[in-house]
Symmetry: C2
Subunit: 351 residues, 2 copies
DNA sequence: ATGAAAGCGCTAACAC
DNA sequence: GTGTTAGCGCTTTCAT
């Protein structure tokens, strides 16, 4: 019943030319085709609503024009923005991103990589959650173009676009110290990811330098390893963390945490526990997702340029696809503090 | 330099069998293959890290196992959740979703449809923003399986999974009326989308029925048509709307708006203008995105089940792919009120 | 300037 | 039970 798909042969027949000519016209090569024929072909193609079959093309050329993208989650707006950047950059260069989420599951990540290889993607953008990073290296050993982004892999020497988590950790500590805070708490999910460890160590180092060495009793780590519904789970995790903080009667006047959503949870629970933010306790987030500006109090946070990171990563990958032999590019995106309302300045008169 | 891709021929050579046998083993057909050969092939495939080329397969079979998904945006968490649902359902059925965002641009939407056709997707999930819906019907006339979801198309008779916007509008009005509000305002972006018109008319009808016919002076519509960065733009739009509301000295005690993000903007600006929520003015949102629960005051809103809608839409499409002749399925997801803290009950003693 | 034809990797009908 | 082969739609070399 369903009409057969229109192929290059149909167009050729209709225009009374060979398929080779049709191909030339369709691909608009600089190949010289008689104007009259060219128009006849174009007309036939249009009339038949011809649409080249990518499979035929890709099979022949070995090029899919597809780019695989693997991310841990979709529901965290940070990643939505990353994807938006990736998509924009890819499409404007004529590539099609295939977006996959690993849902924080290492095995699924591996599976997706194989899937994408089967689809002959010309390259992949990977934000890996695999701690065993060797398998990524193996893939690169083969002939897949890869750019590691977001989550760094220690000692990785290929293309990467990552974020300077260490410095970000330093920044948040310094900012708090400069605002007059001397007793600061660090609230986090388990340190399974490189990024969290890096933030923490930057944070500790900065405190040491300023003379207020971090006190272990101010470190609160929740037990939750698996975030199934990432957005809401991280929020709940924040609430849990705040409860721990409150219960411990922690004397800290400021709290640093690992992402904005967690910060939202912390703030909500703090307020519920009778603790005003920032009057009684200051909170500084991490990511600067869109909602941080909408929250009340508007969240002071460390910006991790999501959209730009997506854009950059895609750009680096496309460069790599064009030239397989160029030197590897390693981009380290820098953090910046975004001052809003959730941190109180103890050194200035309160308003 | 880069090693050639391993093909079925390589595996066949290595195992000392024909490519047909390899194909049979790989696809694990119930075709009878000698156990010894089977193992030899499997071993060879594994050793060579063979990965079938989807293009060859798809070209031959005409099946891509891909499903195209077109959405207006990615940055609004409502859509992130929809996608999460779609992805989960597709993958568990062995399909691969190709996600595209039209960025609220009708032309881009059409372009994406063509792109997806070129990729031989077996079906598409479309949340259309095209007001001219005929072109969608044309596509269906051809041999593409389509499920319209999220944004309904009037008089559409094919498969669809949409949301009962009209009833949602009624619900919000009724809820407010039941809470004792008699003067209610409606704040919206321009009525270009069917969904917004439907919400508005449900809202008006419910008010009429309750005897408090809606007064036109309480309708505020902003001018902004194009949301480029959807998330943040909608927030800004909310702020703009709240300014208009404030400036007009509107006597309404409650505000209904078209989505949660806009509600966040409205609330922020209201508060900034010295108007407490919900003490002075109540606000009811729309969507129930994750952040609504995190906001303060936690947002009372109409839930539009995003993840489930994605799941349902994918499921309907997959059913359709399996049986092209079955009757069309039309699912209308029902709204529900989510009571939180942004609406004040005027009929009960205030706390 | 145009056409004929090979062949990309795979599946499935057919031959043995 | 296994192998041979045609051909899916396309690009591109090579003749003409």
């Amino acid at each position: 019943m369903s009409k057969k798909r229109v192929t290059i042969t149909d167009v050729a027949k209709k225009a009374g030319v060979s398929i080779a000519t049709v191909s030339r016209v369709i691909n608009d090569t600089d190949y010289h085709v008689n104007d009259e024929l060219r128009e006849r072909v174009a007309a036939a193609a249009k009339e038949l609503q011809y649409m080249p079959n990518f499979f035929g093309r890709s099979l022949k050329s070995g090029k899919s024009r597809d780019i695989g993208v693997i991310l841990p989650s979709m529901v965290n707006p940070f990643y939505s923005e990353v994807i938006a950047g990736v998509e924009k950059e890819c499409r404007s260069a004529g590539y099609n991103p295939i977006i996959c989420t690993s849902s924080n599951k290492p095995d699924k990540e591996k599976e997706l990589i194989r899937l994408l290889q089967g689809k002959c993607v010309e390259g992949m953008l990977i934000s890996t959650i695999n701690d065993d990073s060797d398998f990524i290296r193996k893939i690169i050993g083969a002939d897949t173009n890869i750019v590691i982004f977001d989550q760094p892999i220690p000692d990785f020497s290929g293309d990467s676009v990552t974020f300077d988590f260490y410095q970000a950790g330093m920044l948040s500590a310094q900012y708090l110290v400069n605002s007059g805070h001397t007793c600061i708490a660090f609230l986090s999910a388990p340190f399974e990811r490189f990024s969290r460890r890096a933030v923490y160590s930057g944070f500790c180092d900065a405190l040491s330098k300023s003379g207020d060495a971090f006190q272990k009793k101010n470190l609160f780590i929740s037990k939750v390893k698996d975030f199934k519904k990432v957005g809401i789970d991280e929020f709940e995790n924040g609430r849990r963390l705040a409860k721990m903080f409150l219960k411990a009667h922690c004397p800290a006047t400021a709290i640093v945490t690992i992402n904005d959503i967690t910060a939202f949870g912390i703030i909500q629970e703090l307020v519920r526990g009778g603790c005003r933010v920032p009057e009684d306790v200051s909170v500084i987030g991490f990511d600067n997702i869109n909602f941080s500006a909408m929250f009340s109090p508007a969240l002071t946070t460390i910006s991790q340029p999501s959209f730009e990171m997506g854009t950059m990563a895609a750009r680096v990958l496309i460069e790599r696809i064009k030239d397989r032999n160029k030197n590897s590019t390693q981009i380290l995106m820098k953090p910046a503090i975004v001052e809003r309302e959730s941190v109180k300045k103890l050194t200035e008169p309160s308003k």
